[in-house]
């Protein structure tokens, strides 16, 4: 059984039932034309973001963004769990597949953005996750109302249960199969007001806590795919400097060094982000220790540039000098700095 409703112009809410009686609610990008049948196979991994309520009451949440130590697996899962009124100890978080494929002009996302950068993980997913959680909750409430012949508006939810006015309760697991047969909500259901949050912003435990204290959590630096080499870079210490002649024969001779590459001086016509930071040399080796040792052995007569004289001390000196020469632009700058400081002070007061 499946249904979809247009949650926004770009995303669809999908409701599915699995053969084992689980309720699956997720967001789907319209770009993917999967049929419900296709999705049922590995549905947890293809819907984005999604929650799956098993008949035994376990709530499985697909973690969309890559976890590299920023805690996003906990943060995003809690948002769904919050709106669902799930019982946090019964929540399991599974990493979802990475959905990237070649599009025109570079890779494109098939499951929505799956990135770890720029503090965007939670804001980008916030409303989708809340809608998914709230929709799953609404379906479960409607299923309970149907079962009891009650009015859905008289029912409330708490810790993975639907509760009736007279105190009867039904576990989410018992309702999952029936809920998956209901048509999905036509309009995005109401979400909680922040003062009703039980999980968001509260101490509720990190889903990776056990892995962290046992040393099993893989941070970005711990990722390793079979056969991958380790690369270390030495950069020209002067902004805009060049590498000059590289002497790398001693480094090359080291056992375990696979390749030594030079990185050209940044070309301003290359867009930021893909442009190298500075001229340099990259050593690729079988292990980090060899790579680090080989880097030490690389020598170059890099050309210093005028910038190499710039230091923290020299900057104010040259500013004073130029303020004497060109007072007007310097006065403008001073005003800008004053205004910025004033804004910062105002923000600080507001926070306190």
């Amino acid at each position: 059984m499946s249904g979809a409703h247009d949650a926004s112009r770009r995303r669809f809410l999908k409701v599915l039932g699995s053969a084992t009686g689980a309720l699956i609610v997720g967001m789907q990008l319209p770009a993917r034309a999967d049929t419900a049948d296709e999705l049922l196979g590995d549905v947890v991994l293809r819907l984005n973001p999604c929650v799956r309520i098993e008949p035994d009451g376990t709530v499985v949440i697909g973690a969309r963004d890559p976890e590299v130590g920023q805690g996003i697996r906990t943060a995003q899962a809690r948002i769904i769990a919050e709106e669902l009124d799930a019982d946090w100890p019964r929540v399991i978080v599974l990493p979802m597949d990475l959905g990237a494929e070649d599009g025109d002009g570079g890779p494109s996302w098939t499951l929505g953005h799956q990135e770890a950068r720029g503090s965007t993980g939670v804001p980008a997913a916030w409303s989708d996750l809340r809608t998914v959680g709230a929709s799953a909750r609404e379906l479960l409430v409607r299923a309970a109302a149907q079962r009891w012949g009650a009015d859905a508006s008289t029912l409330r939810t708490q810790l993975g249960k639907v509760i009736a006015r007279d105190g009867r309760t039904l576990d989410y697991g018992e309702l999952a199969a029936e809920a998956s047969a209901l048509p999905p909500p036509n309009v995005a259901p109401a979400v909680k007001s922040p003062d009703a949050f039980r999980l968001i912003g509260q101490d509720a435990g990190d889903v990776d806590a056990r892995d962290i204290v046992t040393g099993r959590q893989l941070h970005a630096i711990d990722q390793w795919r079979g056969g991958a080499l380790i690369a270390v870079i030495a950069r020209c210490p002067y902004p805009g400097g060049t590498l000059g002649n590289l002497h790398a024969s001693a480094a090359r001779a080291l056992k375990g060094v696979e390749q030594i590459l030079t990185i050209p001086k940044p070309d301003p016509s290359i867009p930021l982000g893909t442009r190298p930071l500075a001229a340099g040399v990259a050593v690729l080796a079988n292990d980090t220790w060899t790579a680090l040792r080989a880097r030490e052995l690389c020598r170059s007569n890099g050309h210093p540039v005028p910038w190499c004289k710039v230091t923290t001390r020299s900057l104010p000196r040259s500013m004073h000098a130029s303020s004497r020469r060109r007072p007007w632009p310097c006065a403008m700058m001073a005003i800008t700095i004053m205004r910025a400081n004033w804004r910062i002070a105002r923000c600080r007061r507001a926070i306190r």
Binding site: G69, Q70, G71, D203, G205, D206, D208, A209, R210, I212, V213, T214, G215, R216, Q217, L218, H219, I221, D222, W224, I230, D287, T288, W289, T290, L292
Partner: protein, 173 residues
Amino acid sequence: MPRLPQTDPGITPEPIRPGIDVVINRENFRHTGDPSMPLLWYLRDVLRLTGCKYGCDDATCGACSVLVDGKLARACELPMQKLQGHRITTVEGLAQADGSLHPLQQAWIDEDAILCGYCQPGMLIAAVDLLARKPDPSDDDIDGIKNLCRCGSYPRVRAAIQRAAAKMKGAPK
């Protein structure tokens, strides 16, 4: 008398490779690579015990803390050649073989002392060392742990150590 299995004359057994023998988390290993390789990289790159973290590479941050014969050490400045015959414990070796956690690990979870978790393996090892020396540490003793945490988990780490210390005092040795 039991008979030893005959060696197949067609197979030449591989010669025993010389190396540095170490015991890591109760298991025997032989390092056959560069003897000057620091323990940090042996753990991380060779054994893939990535709980030992790489932070500063100059013995400042403590992310790479391990116990060598029960004493606190920094793996980034310990070349393998100094370790012949020594017993090393990393964060992966703190829990029991059956998976039950060390009281400090449990206290860490109970106090929610974890932020990104990068420094935490080192913090845990430093805390094990502290409690071995001072079973009843004061806050000052705890602040004597100089491991760095970029996320600023210090107050909760302190609470977790106090909690574990209280728990371990009651436990039979």
